[in-house]
Subunit: 428 residues, 2 copies
């Protein structure tokens, strides 16, 4: 029964919260060792998946492939994670409420995290290691096309952890059937957070079905705005990278906004550079007047995440119009400005409502590895808890500990009420 397993996991999570950083690091190193010594087993399982999926599309097969190089990659990832500071057991603040009555705020793991991901088996290892490091239990559900690889990887991780220290028993669970997904989404009693990784439709489905908070993003409609004070060379370089460095990902740019005062000068070289990379151009009426062979952009284009070699272009009369366009059509993922003007930069940074504002650089930088988080569990467009690329910090919550000496509330109530001191104490 899945409920019984989840209940055990909830209890195990309370114990996992107490495990010191060094022990978690040693457990991670053991996992790295086991992955290394079980390469043959992992690759055989992956070959089975590749064989069963031989009719799948090339991009899916590329993500499904888990060869020795990919194993090296996840092992490197674990070594990187070990180097990071332990995010739990930290005293976040300390407040003297009254003599002898001290309120401490301590970082603790969230508890039990459910991660549902498609195809990529490296995601399984990455997520499980992040959860070990942050002291969270994890329920893993991978795509059925990677079934054999995921099973072997999960077995290795679970066996290594439980052999290393019995306190890791029941802290990692792999579920295999599709039905089990809709079932676990009901257990908000035991699972504290769901992280879906996959297509828009997939994430939206999970968001709709889940009674558990969902961390993630569906759309990634990212913008670049070429301000009237932009450097044209920067614009060309940054827009091309933002659009074409990898088109199939959420932080690729989908819409380019251009200030009318610079449109004549900037659009021609930018579009020429994009066309050299085989990008289809869709533009507003004013764009069509400057550039030839532009497909007219409609309202739908402003709302579309192409994930392809297509860009929509709109000319705006002011930075305010650019910002309003982004705040209306954007998904709050990543949006950029290209400008040499300090006031434009300040305005854009302040008024654009997005998780990552990028200035004179590519939207493609918005990613946990590039942001120095070691690894990421996903990118969040939530505005609740964790936003943007989410690493270890997003897997942490806090707990208040109030220590007194027979202090009671009655003494602080009514006509002769004692006053609170509320003095901040040093946390170092």
């Amino acid at each position: 029964m899945i409920e019984e397993k989840l209940f055990k996991m909830k209890l195990a999570s309370c114990g996992l919260a107490a495990i010191p950083g060094e022990l978690k690091n040693n457990a991670l190193l053991e996992i790295a060792k086991s992955l290394d010594s079980n390469r043959k087993l992992i690759i055989e399982a992956n070959e089975k998946d590749l064989h069963n999926g031989k009719d799948l599309s090339q991009p899916i097969l590329k993500r499904l492939l888990f060869d020795s190089e990919k194993i090296d990659g996840v092992i490197d990832g674990i070594y990187g994670l070990v180097k990071l500071e332990d995010p739990v057991h930290k005293k976040l603040s300390s407040l003297l409420l009254d003599d002898g009555l001290i309120l401490n705020k301590i970082s603790v793991p969230i508890g039990v995290i459910g991660v549902i991901f498609e195809s990529r088996p490296d995601a399984l290892v990455q997520i499980a290691s992040l959860c070990v490091k942050s002291g969270n239990c994890v329920v893993l559900k991978g795509g059925s096309e990677a079934m054999n690889t995921n099973k072997v990887l999960a077995d290795i991780i679970i066996q290594t952890l439980t052999a290393f220290d019995s306190r890791f028993t029941d802290t990692v669970l792999l579920i295999e059937s599709r039905e089990a997904v809709s079932e676990i989404l009901k257990f908000n009693k035991y699972i504290n957070l769901i992280i879906p990784r996959g297509s828009n439709e997939f994430v939206q489905y999970i968001q709709k079905k889940s009674s558990i908070p969902v961390l993630g993003h569906a759309d990634g409609i990212c913008h670049q705005y070429i301000d009237q004070f932009a450097d044209i060379d920067t614009a060309i370089k940054v827009v091309v990278d933002s659009k074409t460095q990898y088109v199939a990902v959420c932080n690729a740019t989908e819409t380019l906004l251009v200030h009318a005062n610079i449109a004549e000068k900037a659009l021609k070289p930018v579009v020429a550079a994009l066309r050299e990379k085989k990008v289809e151009i869709r533009g507003c009426e004013r764009t069509q007047k400057i550039i030839s062979d532009v497909i007219p952009a409609t309202e739908t284009d402003w709302k579309t995440e192409y994930l392809d070699y297509i860009i929509s272009i709109k000319i705006v009369d002011s930075i305010e119009e650019a910002v309003t366009h982004i705040n209306t059509y954007g998904s709050g993922h990543t949006d950029g400005i290209i400008t040499e003007n300090a006031e434009s930069k300040r305005y854009f940074e302040t008024f654009v409502d997005t998780s990552s504002v990028v200035v004179n650089c590519s939207t493609r930088f918005a990613d946990g590895f590039r942001y120095g988080m070691g690894a990421e569990v996903g990118v969040s467009t939530n505005k609740f808890h964790a936003r943007g690329p989410v690493g270890l910090e997003g897997l942490i919550i806090y707990k208040y500990i109030l220590e007194g000496n027979a202090h009671i509330v009655a003494d602080y109530s009514g006509s002769n009420a004692k006053k609170f001191k509320h003095t901040k104490l040093d946390v170092k």
Copy 2:
């Protein structure tokens, strides 16, 4: 149309995010002044509500009453809020990704917050002021029994804000019909967070219906555990306060756990003190052997938030059993230990999964005012984002700002990839 209003509010929220702390404080002081000068109007509206609700129960009427003393209270609350530091525009971290490429993390408001509350009109003023201070827009829905008072209060706040500075236009909205509630719960496009304040059933209803993240708590099943190393006088004082200082609230204790080694000695005086306050005692079999006239406690008692002069008592053989009981039946709100032993204290603090652990003091302390937050928007048993009493900090999220100089991802990819530096910069 509510959708149009919410869309306007979403755009207004992007502007509100930019308003400096001093201006928000001045706006709050204007609200305090307007409330003061409109006392007559407010009290007349409240008298209408009290008259219409004359058949309601005494506790509801008490909460509904909004007289000159309560007006003083909310004005004092505003002065307290003005004194607190501005929680937005703070640089939370800064990281050098590479030469000339700097990633800053800045605190920003969440955006648009929906607050749904029952009866108490002071909640309206408190919540609206917290939202002004934190730079959030707020959609308010109060209980229908306080309709007239809420209308007058909201009108005063909205008129004062828009007269003070036009950037506050569309930042506060009062909705009045019950249907409007189910309607706004659908608009996850415009509303970022829902905070329901009211009965269990009410909060559960909102949690079920909402497609927007909900911050709050339904149950408040709080425990006190008398450890074998407890000081008996402390136990008596703290348990009586935890249970009886105010029984109708979420942080009142519902279940008492007692270590078997101290049960004979501790239970008699504790129960005598509780009975003096007219508390009904329900106990496990072992409790019944020590104390006379105990109503047998069943499984249901461990799961029940009485909100009344009733307590359930269970004798446990170890601190581990106490902790497992709390982690199984508790609601993660507030749980306490009474002990003189450092090891017991450490064990309990670490292994109890609750938002507030209280040691040798009352569970009733878990509240935003007592925790020095100035005011609270609610108490959260979420483990996502904000937990325990939630003040200004819980109304804040962050935004990444990455500033470069024509930096592109292509340079950091492939065989000749540049390496990231990831050097932490000082934020002071």
